[in-house]
Symmetry: C2
């Protein structure tokens, strides 16, 4: 009842099988890990059937790769949101991201889906791992560009230091849980930036 026509009325959920699969796989893969979740569980929780899954995805590995792409898109959405809050101030952009991340990695955080996938699949040929490592390379470049924009003396070094810090926060969140070391995240980033962006023309603080 009341669930009829009007298919393309923007977000008037048609709820296609493939979309339900993506959403469910995403939730289960992220929460429990990719290897730990079977395709049967996915289709059951999604309320669809296995042939529907394999009509849209060539294999479980490809579904995992698709999950990676979706996760990556969300990552950049969050990352860009921090940047958009402070236009023309790369330093504040960076700190804003770390503050957001500090909050995110505190509670029942399960880490970064992309980092977790790299850990789960050491084989560099795995489609999910390829997406994940590609994203990390892009993030590394982005941080280096940001470091350059901040006026760091050696941008590549500051960028890499921030990579280490971010990955550390991502993984420490799920190791230590609530009272974990992520509380010092933003302050630590601040310290590193201060050390690399020396004297003249510091925007924040």
């Amino acid at each position: 009842m009341a669930k009829k026509t009007a298919v393309s009325l923007a977000s008037a959920a048609p709820a296609r099988a493939v979309d339900k699969i993506r959403a469910t796989a995403r939730e289960l893969f992220y929460r429990q890990g990719i290897r730990a979740v079977g395709v049967d569980e996915i289709v059951q929780r999604a309320g669809v059937t296995k042939p529907s899954l394999y009509r849209s995805f060539a294999s479980k590995d490809e579904l995992a790769a698709s999950y990676m792409r979706d996760y990556e898109a969300d990552f950049w959405t969050r990352f860009d949101a921090s940047a958009a809050a402070h236009p023309d101030d790369p330093r504040r952009q960076m700190i804003a991201y770390f503050e957001m991340l500090s909050g995110r990695t505190r509670d029942g955080y399960r880490g970064c889906g992309l980092t977790n996938a790299v850990v789960e699949y050491p084989d560099s040929d795995h489609p999910a791992r390829k997406v994940a490592t590609g994203h990390k390379a892009a993030l590394r470049k982005r941080l280096r560009d940001l470091a350059k924009a901040m006026g760091a003396e050696r941008p590549a070094e500051l960028g890499d230091a921030l990579v280490l810090l971010i990955e550390g926060a991502l993984v420490s969140g799920q190791i230590f849980g609530k009272g974990g070391p992520s509380a010092v995240l933003a302050q630590t980033a601040q310290t590193l930036i201060d050390a690399h962006v020396k004297p003249a023309r510091r925007s924040g603080k």
Copy 2:
């Protein structure tokens, strides 16, 4: 031939089944991940049989927990070696560890077995995860103590910053491989320590 009596002649290898299982499981679990390795593969590569495994370990999960304990012992061996090289100089001890770690996380590094296990097993009841998180808590405390010994103004904060850095290096090593951000590891640690251990009485540099 020549492989008879003399069982307890110290290290005159009797090569018991359980030892071969531990060594093989360790190698496979570390390289491929715990979930990715079946008990059949372990016993086959170890040259033993399944009942031999289950006579020494209650389950695969318990074997994984045993692997965690072995890995942890090796971790502390490496950690203590860095410390022993610079007695009575906590600052140099810490830097020495980071330098060693920077080298380790460069080549075909597969990350920290303990961290990887936490990622693989999000369920906090899993025996392997319990060992791993227990170890990480001990490491955190150890770093805090070291920060205190260095004379840090806020030891807990420096300790936690170093936790983030270490975990970041551990996981970045397997994400980025050879040219990864671990190259800046020791320098970054130095920067953080310098910022926390303020003016008077700095040993190194």
